[in-house]
Amino acid sequence: MTEASPARVLNSDLPLSPADDAAHSIGPLALAAHRFLLWLRSPRPYLMLVGFTLFIGFWYLAVEVWKLPRFSEMPGPTVVVREWFSRNPTYGLSIFTPEYYMHIWVSTRRVAIAFFLATAIGVPLGLFLGWSERFKQYIFPVFELLRPIPPLAWVPLAIVMFKGSETPIIFLTFLASFYATALNTMLGVESIDVSYTRAASCLGATRWQVFLHVIVPGSMPFIFTGLQISVGVAWFSLVAGEMVSGQYGLGYVINTSYTMVRYPTIVIGMITLGIVGYATSAIVRLVGAYLMQWRTRELALGGDR
């Protein structure tokens, strides 16, 4: 005990983390490819195949083979597929007609505008609501007052308030999206462990620096979950709005296909909506994963709790 102990632990040169090398060399793309290969080797893709076969199989059998009573008027999968991929569709809409893409574009554009507006206003608002107790006390009650009103209930009022046919629909979509974003952002801020803000103030950060370096990055995971929900809600409201009062757009297509007895087109519209909705949600998720590299890596490597 009289010997000066050299810094044994500090100089030990042992690897500092189990995934030391992996952490350095794997980029996000390689990580994703690796996980895809793992997925292919699991039973999951085959179960998925079974599920879809059962679903489409049942639909096919019920409508076109057994001709079950309730299903008599519905279009079967073969009819839909044939129509969707035909160069000369009976009802005017297929992947080869420009109108198809025009409708997709109109709907997507509306969602995009509403979504970006909602994010631009909702995220800052949510951040402040979570960050400043005083601000929340003033603003939150008014916020909550209007929230229970469902988006579509706003349609007549929106038509009355705004001129033109585009703005009411975008307003509707914006409202629903905005609420989801603002709420989730606020929850994100409130769920940040207080130790982080305390640590930052210990280290000499001003309130504004704490906001920028702790609050904003810390609530990102919640914000992006909120954004995914927000995109979904946006599509929900958009379709509702288009079905009630619109020209062009996928909701409009579905509605008019019904009134004009073009049933296969209804299904085409629905499937297209599903695909586009999923794609937009996936884009948001991917952007989030890219911006939050720290979280993707943490989750991928399992961490050390």
Binding site: A4, S5, A7, S195, C202, H213
Partner: protein
């Protein structure tokens, strides 16, 4: 007989500030939570000193109020009465019930508070950059040196989520030391670690201490940890806490794990175990009653 290690060119030794001492004087501090009258007494007339340049460990059962004391020094909580001084400067007292958090008293948190969204070196350089004391390049250079000195070379650009929790603690300590604090406040930092990792962390902490000589105020419920690490051990009663026994541990530094089986160590354990156990039983009984 204690032998001081030979002075080596150390970067962890925080750049000389002549006034840096880090002695804390806690005088008659009382803390009551909740409305007056129906409140809960957490700290009951606590008085003791934290000598500069030494490791002072506060031991007590969970929930006794020792974290409240730490938070009061750090500036996260206010006190109800009494005063706390840092090097003769008032931190909080009768006119000013809450201290302001600052880089002269930095906390290392129980569950770790390294920012998960910043890389390790971004974390370590956070303090000086935020305060505008160093440019980015200067801060990074200093950080690289200090991290290397603390045995953390190579993980500068990893995220905290990619390294083990024991290593995270060390990074957090270096992050604190970058700011030349007068005192380091450690709030049960090794509580969540298994005992094998803990013993390695203890040695690492001591090694860092020997290099930097910063005052350390350490809270734990583990008596062995306290006696192993501390120059001075303060044993607290159960809630509301009050110093029950204060010991100066004269086991010489530098210490290593062989201390744990030394005769003097066992003597200290004998002296204190009964007192700690007594408080533990009281705390357990009080916990039962709180339904």
């Amino acid at each position: 007989m204690s032998v001081r290690p030979a002075a080596t060119h150390i970067n962890l030794a925080v750049s000389a500030q002549p006034t840096r001492k880090g002695s804390v004087r806690i005088t008659d501090v009382v803390k009551v939570y909740g409305a007056a009258g129906a409140g809960v007494l957490a700290v009951d007339h606590c008085t003791f000193d934290v000598p500069p340049g030494e490791i002072t460990v506060v031991v007590g059962p969970s929930g006794c109020g020792k974290t409240t004391l730490l938070n009061a020094i750090a500036g996260f909580h206010s006190i109800s009465s009494g005063s706390i001084h840092l090097d003769d400067e008032l931190l909080c007292g009768p006119q000013k019930l809450k201290a302001r958090p600052g880089p002269d008293r930095i906390v290392v948190f129980q569950n770790g508070a390294l920012f998960p969204w910043k890389t390790n070196i971004e974390n370590v350089t956070f303090g000086p950059i935020m305060q505008g004391l160093l440019s980015r390049a200067e801060a990074y250079e200093k950080a690289r040196d200090m991290m290397a000195d603390a045995g953390l070379r190579g993980i500068e650009h990893n995220y905290p989520g990619e390294i083990s929790s024991g290593v995270r603690r060390r990074v957090e300590i270096v992050r604190a030391l970058m700011n030349g604090p007068k005192i380091l406040l450690l709030d049960e930092p090794y509580r969540a670690l298994d005992s094998l990792t803990k013993s390695v962390m203890h040695e690492a902490l001591l090694e860092i201490f020997y290099k930097s000589r910063v005052t350390i105020f350490f809270i734990t419920h583990d008596l062995e940890e306290a006696i192993f690490l501390g120059h001075r051990v303060v044993i607290m009663t159960t809630r509301p806490c009050r110093p029950k026994k204060i010991l100066d541990i004269d086991i010489p530094h530098p210490r290593d794990y062989s201390v744990l089986t030394a005769k003097r160590f066992r003597e200290f354990m004998d002296e204190t175990a009964a007192a700690v156990h007594e408080e533990a039983i009281k705390a357990f009984a009080a916990g039962e009653k709180e339904r």
